[in-house]
Symmetry: C2
């Protein structure tokens, strides 16, 4: 029987996720991660590998707890507008949640990535592209169902909705005002109908 | 006669601006700033004061070289759409400029601010609010001139345009694709007409 670990791996990973969320990839040092996880340097490396492997595990947890419900809101939408409203509602809820760091782990990492680590850049690019593909799929379904007028350029709209989602994360970071964040989302949704 | 400084203050400040632009406020350490400015620690403190005073001077330079022309595009617009098109054209040009760090100094700082330094937060909040006020003023002028339909909610549109501008900075950081960035701006502008 394997010896039980002396620490809770999920809690340690959750601490690492919050550290990366607060400061981005480059802004989070190994000492920050030791403090956030409560682990010794050797336990950290033994359990999670190096910093980029730990980041990958932390973004995996972020995706399961924060990204996944939002992506499901888009995938399981009963209509395009319902799905987008639910998506932005979840995002704004998370931006305003006093228990979480502000904004979005991935947005914060995108804008603070100064090291140009190709592996991290690739992960972020892939995540952004998947997100836009989900938006586009939902818009196309809405256009096919006659919910969105045929003359709307859904390709451009999917880019714009992604930009608004990123922009919400930025604005919420220093000015987390519920009304302003909803105004951003509502004006973007009005452009679709 | 004052002894001439042994270094070019503007060049040093420009180096500091690029360092903050690349890594945000928290992500830029004093050793990073010494390297970026080419100054000794004592010259740095003597010339610019502490890190937050240097940040203030660096954002001042950023505003004069990058923010000011964009704000003038909004203020001196011959029509609302012309002004917004010029604004986003300048922003996208700067995002794609290979000579500059990607994205926007202020956006990068917003999303990487983990220290909750009240002075820096206040500066960023003030800058965001001024930006939105300029957008709103231009939209109101357009509505008064009959360029923008009366039923448009210009307050919400100003929030949405600000979000798209922030989102452009985020997207450009890991995926600086000209077509995608223009699609974001164009779909946002289409929502106004």
């Amino acid at each position: 029987m394997a010896r039980p670990r002396e620490f809770n791996e999920t809690e340690a990973l959750s601490g690492a996720m919050n550290a990366f969320w607060t400061s981005g990839y480059d802004g989070t040092s190994i000492p920050d991660l030791l403090k956030a996880t409560g682990l010794s340097r050797s336990s950290l490396y033994e359990t999670f590998g190096d910093k980029s492997a730990l980041f990958e595990a932390a973004t995996g947890l972020y995706f399961r707890t924060h990204g996944q419900p939002r992506m499901e809101a888009l995938r399981q939408a009963t209509s395009t507008m319902q799905g987008l409203r639910r998506f932005f509602g979840l995002q704004i809820g998370s931006c305003l949640d006093p228990k979480s760091p502000n904004g979005c782990l991935l947005t914060n990492t995108c804008t603070s990535l100064s090291s140009h680590d190709p592996k991290i850049e690739y992960m972020l690019r892939k995540s952004n592209r998947l997100f836009r593909a989900e938006l586009l799929a939902l818009l196309v379904r809405g256009q096919q169902a006659g919910e969105i007028p045929q003359d709307r350029d859904v390709e451009s709209l999917s880019h714009m909705l992604m930009a608004v989602s990123f922009g919400l994360n930025v604005a919420a970071r220093v000015d987390p005002d519920r009304r302003s964040l909803h105004a951003m989302a509502n004006a973007a949704l009005k452009a679709i109908e």
